[in-house]
């Protein structure tokens, strides 16, 4: 997974890079071709020199007294001009293109020059000069054209570079955003994991408290052995054993997730009234429908009822009623108190871990109802709060109505707690 992510990241970097390189290389091609054209002189030097040398020859022939001692001879001057004609193919490489810009032709310059030199015909030399000047003007037109072409190519290059720059910036921004998101998601997942671990350990300590209290209570009672009868002693021993077994189960910290986050149930058919009978105690009134058998994990079911009952007793000074009924979908245990009640907007929040009723002074972590809900949901049921006018009715149903499709999907793949933490089962 990490490798494919790395591969995709690398591809995301390489692809725009390669594309940009291809675009830039492609856009440079035209400019480089023009700049490296071996037939382009860029200066028109040969054409200028031709006109200049013919002009020098005319001047020196017109007035030989102008010639300086170190100046070249008439013959040398003529030889240099002829050298250019002889080497025309190399020196006037752009000739075809230049001659397209006007009527002047190099061959006519040469013909007029040779006639003028042969017969010392100054008008012919002058005509050769004019033709060479016209050729120069055409050469400048050609250079102007080359300059204009290079300018257009450079503008196109500028455009392509701007596009590539924008493209690269967008690609880079997307890449950075992608990695920031990945980083955030990973950080979030870690925070959730840490939160879950904290919840689980607090739930464990919450649940450990009760069997420990019972152990302390029973051992205290057994100290006064002479005050209790045989039957009572047997019952106390049974509670001692149950508490020890519960402790052993709960104290396995390596199984916290199996106990609380994804409860693993050991289900068997039980007479629910028999499971609820031990909850008879002062301030608790039991109203149990007999012969209601259901497949439950007895320990988890009892813990869930115990948590809800304990909560009711904590907040209600009056009697708390525990009712076992046949509901529409399956058995329901109703725990009804005459306490202050829960406002409608808080009826879901009370099942969130660490939720404490506002203004409450009672001790605890606010985990009892959250644990109860997880256990009931593991059974395929749920816990809900109902309006009871004066007090609260908590309904623990062992079988919930058929869930909507979305919930079903979530249940199969992911377990979503009310806190929003998501633990993957895959």
């Amino acid at each position: 997974m990490r490798q494919s992510l790395l591969g995709r990241g690398l591809l995301a970097v390489l692809l725009p890079g390669v594309l940009a390189a291809v675009l830039i290389a492609f856009s440079f091609t035209a400019s480089l071709r023009t700049l490296n054209d071996p037939s382009s002189s860029w200066t028109g030097h040969a054409y200028q020199m031709l006109a200049q040398q013919i002009a020098m020859l005319i001047v020196q022939r017109q007035d030989p007294s102008l010639r300086q001692s170190e100046d070249i001879s008439d013959a040398e001057q003529i030889a240099m001009i002829r050298s250019s004609f002889l080497n025309a193919e190399q020196e006037y490489k752009e000739l075809a293109r230049i001659e397209r810009f006007g009527p002047a032709r190099l061959t006519r310059v040469q013909a007029l020059f040779e006639r003028g030199v042969r017969t010392n015909d100054l008008p012919a030399l002058l005509a050769a000069l004019r033709e060479a000047n016209a050729l120069n003007a055409q050469m400048r037109s050609h250079l102007q054209q080359v300059r204009s072409d290079v300018y257009d190519q450079t503008r196109r290059l500028q455009f392509v570079l701007a596009i590539v720059g924008a493209f690269a910036t967008v690609a880079l921004a997307m890449l950075v955003a992608r990695f920031v998101n990945l980083w955030r998601a990973e950080r979030g997942a870690r925070a959730q994991q840490a939160k879950l671990s904290r919840e689980l350990s607090l739930m464990a300590s919450h649940e450990l408290r009760r069997p420990l209290q019972q152990l302390a209570l029973v051992s205290d009672l057994l100290q006064h052995d002479h005050l209790i009868g045989e039957a009572e002693r047997a019952r106390l021993f049974q509670r001692l054993q149950d508490s020890a077994a519960q402790l052993a189960l709960l104290s396995d910290l390596s199984r916290l997730e199996a106990v609380y986050a994804e409860p693993e149930l050991t289900r068997a058919p039980h007479d629910l009234a028999a499971l609820l009978a031990p909850f008879a105690r002062p301030r608790v009134h039991l109203d149990l429908e007999p012969d209601l058998v259901w497949s439950v994990d007895a320990a988890r079911f009892s813990q869930a009822v115990e948590n809800v009952l304990e909560n009711a007793l904590k907040y209600s000074p009056a009697e708390v009623r525990v009712e076992l009924r046949r509901g529409e979908c399956g058995p329901e245990v109703h725990v009804v108190d005459r306490g202050p009640g829960v406002p409608p907007q808080d009826r879901e929040r009370v099942f969130e871990p660490f939720y404490r009723a506002p203004g409450t002074s009672a001790s605890g972590h606010g985990l009892g109802l959250a644990i109860a809900r997880r256990f009931l949901r593991a059974h395929g049921g749920d816990i809900t709060l109902r309006d009871e006018g004066n007090g609260t009715r908590v309904v623990l149903s062992l079988a919930a109505p058929p869930p909507p499709r979305a919930t079903e999907r979530v249940r199969r793949g992911l377990r979503v707690g009310k806190t929003g933490n998501v633990t993957s089962r895959g």
Binding site: N36, P38, H45, M49, Q52, Q53, E70, I72, E76, A79, M80, R82, S83, L86, N87, E89, Q90, E91
Partner: protein
Amino acid sequence: MFPRQPWSWLPVLLTLTGCAQPPAYTEVHAEQALPARSAGEKVLLHVSTPQGPREFTLRQLEALRAVEYRTVQPQLGKAALYRGVLLSDLARETGLSRQDLRFEALNDYGATIAWRDYEKYPVLLAYHADGQPISIESKGPLTVVFPTHAYPQRFEAQKYGAQWVWYVYKVRVP
């Protein structure tokens, strides 16, 4: 099949990697005594030196150390065996070493050659092509030649084409 001494591979290795190149030029003769200019002998080269102007006839130039190599003249588009005096030798002879040199032509053209180019590489002021004095029609009698046969990338025509000065008749510091 394989030589026993490992170092006997060295010349082959150097040649293959391009580290050992054949010499870029051949020395025709060492510097000789400078002949006096005879009456009416044409001066081919005028050099402005810190000590004053110096003039060289063809015979005097030929008396300096002569080297030769075959290369293609880019503007003529053909190869020739050029013989002449290395610019580094000429600069030493005239006291212009380690100075950029301006070469001026009979047709008033001119170009500057950097001392780093002529000190390190055998840039030539040629007076012979294929064993013959260079005519004006062939861009003589003196012409600058770059060793493109040995250093084609270093002296590519796009950059150095304008420095192949023809009809050279004056050298000075720019």
